[in-house]
């Protein structure tokens, strides 16, 4: 536990020691603003809720989160510090979890900084704050899922650009898997069970249901087990690839 905490602290402080943190936060805030007010038609809708804000999160995360996660392991391997890290008295699992939690904590800071939107909607109207809270919660869970994929892929290569591109593609797959055009492709030949499995893998299905204010056990289990599986793969990949 102490080891996870030590890794967590180092990583989190490190985000703010480089311009990465500030660039990420500024870009994230500007883009959420643009999406919510222009594309989402926040004012035109005339409704006191944050649907237009949350509905663009899956697409924002698609590019921003892999940009954050690409360096997690690729950089350690590139600079050789992985040899230092892996010869300290910690397990790979502790290192993977510590790094993941730090990145997750960082995205939650960025997400927290969108609070002016919440203030705005409360000033203008009388929204259901429980639903908004659920939206934030769902968005955070989904960010965790993106991060777990990104962290795992980052362990695959020492090149951050490759890690970024592959992560985006895989995350895109997990968004699309709920869309009819993907499901139709499988519809022709795969049994219904498989189609159900594929569609239930989508971030969108689970995220949308949470943002409606329904925190269903199944959605929680989906995100938690999704993160768990990718982190497990991450541990295995680090073990296999650390010395390449």
């Amino acid at each position: 536990m102490n080891n996870i905490l030590a890794i967590f602290k180092r990583e989190l402080i490190n985000y703010f020691a480089t311009p990465v943190a500030y660039v990420f936060i500024v870009v994230f805030l500007v883009l959420t603003g643009v999406f919510t007010f222009y594309l989402g038609g926040f004012f035109e809708r005339g409704q006191a809720d944050l649907q237009p804000f949350f509905s663009y999160h899956p697409w924002l995360y698609l590019f921003l989160i892999p940009a954050l996660s690409m360096r997690l392991w690729a950089e350690e391997r590139k600079s050789g510090t992985i040899e230092l890290l892996m010869t300290l008295p910690i397990s790979i699992t502790q290192a993977v979890v510590g790094k993941f939690l730090a990145a997750w904590a960082f995205t939650s800071i960025a997400l927290f900084l969108t609070f002016p939107i919440w203030i705005t909607v409360n000033y203008l109207g009388d929204p259901d704050n429980a639903v908004i809270f659920a939206g934030y919660f769902g968005s955070l869970l989904m960010a965790g899922a993106y991060l777990a994929v990104g962290s795992c892929i980052s362990a695959l290569t020492r090149n951050q650009v490759i890690a970024f591109v592959i992560s985006v593609v895989i995350c895109f797959g997990f968004i699309l898997s709920g869309f009819p055009m993907v499901l139709n492709f499988f519809d022709a030949w795969a049994p219904q069970v498989i189609i159900n499995v594929i569609s239930s893998m989508s971030f969108l299905t689970h995220f949308t249901s949470i943002t409606k204010g329904v925190i269903d056990m199944r959605d929680l289990i989906y995100f938690v087990s999704f993160i768990g599986c990718w982190l497990l793969a991450n541990v295995i990949l680090v073990e296999l690839k650390k010395s390449d």
Binding site: N2, N3, A6, I7, K9, R10, I13, N14, A17, T18, S79, G80, T81, E83, L84, M86, T87, L88, P89, I90, S91, K242, S243
Partner: protein, 323 residues
């Protein structure tokens, strides 16, 4: 003396390439083991297996009685390791980097500062504490790596080329540090600088192509040189042939080698027959003949020659086997 490191028939294969074929040795407390070999000999790979970074294909390594593959965490807590090139987190400053290491090494708040301060003092880092490590000079980076390795006062210290790329003053400092710590630790230092072996090591191992070719004291290593116990003298003379004839008449001389030096002097290496001591008789004839001697000494042996001789031998054997 207790055995701190025990390496048994380590072997490491990367695909079809064998990096380490069969290496065994032990290191006791108080010993400084010099790990020598040409580039690509398997020095770093062996060290990485001892420190638990690489898993051996076969064989095992024990540190302080713990098997690396069975108790990696215990092994890692007993080792201070300076990897090749001394990698550190470049964006951090030296102080917070060392605090991070001390925290991972399990020290509570108050002891952490004390440990960090000791390491800073030993590695002479006071002047650069708050600069990002990536902006430091090579020498300071290396010292940050050293400080990191000794922060927990480990019983076993493993350093992969600790003086590589340092200037002579920095090298000297690192050697002093190693000497200072040598008493109560088992230290393994890899290097391809041979003078270093004489300066700090109590034992030397030469490996090439993944095999141990020599294991003994630096003295024993030097004794393998053909220059070991030879008398070297340089003098200003018009008739080097006459001098050579005189030298060859000395009792116990096996052969003589003659070189012309850049300053115009002639240098002789006089090789003795087995165990004969020549220096007295040679200095005697030098005096009686009034030679203008510039230098006269007994050679302890050229490590470079031995190194080349030992490490290229296997190449030749391999070539013979192929042809």
């Amino acid at each position: 003396m207790e055995t701190m490191i025990e390496v048994n028939h380590l072997r490491k294969q990367f695909g079809s390439y064998t990096a380490v074929e069969d290496i065994s040795f032990t290191v006791k407390r108080g010993e400084v083991l010099g790990f020598l070999g040409p580039n690509g000999a398997g020095k770093s790979t062996t060290m990485k297996m001892i420190t638990g970074f690489l898993t051996p294909t076969s064989g095992n390594a024990k540190v302080c009685g713990y098997d690396v593959s069975k108790h990696p965490i215990q092994v890692k807590s007993n080792i201070g390791y300076l990897p090749e090139g001394a990698p550190t987190y470049g964006e951090m400053n030296a102080l917070s980097f060392l605090h991070f290491i001390a925290e991972i090494r399990g020290y509570g708040k108050s002891e952490r500062s004390q440990r960090v301060n000791q390491a800073i003092e030993k590695a002479n880092l006071e002047s650069v504490l708050l600069k990002p490590v990536e902006t430091l000079s090579k020498g300071f980076k290396r010292r940050v790596g050293l400080a990191q390795a000794i922060i927990h006062d480990p019983p076993v210290l493993i350093m992969d080329e600790p003086t590589d790329g340092l200037d002579p003053n920095q090298k000297h400092e690192v050697r002093l540090l190693i000497e200072e710590m040598a008493k109560d630790k088992a230290i393994v230092v890899s290097t391809h600088i041979l003078e270093e072996v004489h300066a700090v090591c109590s034992r030397a191992i030469i490996i090439a192509q993944g095999k141990t070719l020599f294991d003994g004291t630096p003295m024993a290593l030097a004794a393998q040189s053909k220059y070991h116990n030879a008398v070297s003298l340089s003098l200003t003379t018009e008739q080097p042939d006459a001098v050579e004839v005189q030298l060859s008449k000395v009792e116990g001389v096996a052969s003589i080698e003659r070189n012309k030096l850049a300053n115009g002097d002639t240098q002789f290496f006089v090789f003795p027959k087995k165990d004969a001591m020549l220096i007295r008789s040679i200095s005697h004839i030098a005096r009686t003949n009034n030679w203008e001697l510039d230098q006269l000494s007994v050679e302890s042996g050229h490590l470079d020659d031995v190194f080349r001789q030992i490490t290229t031998q296997t190449n030749n054997i391999a070539k013979d086997a192929l042809s």
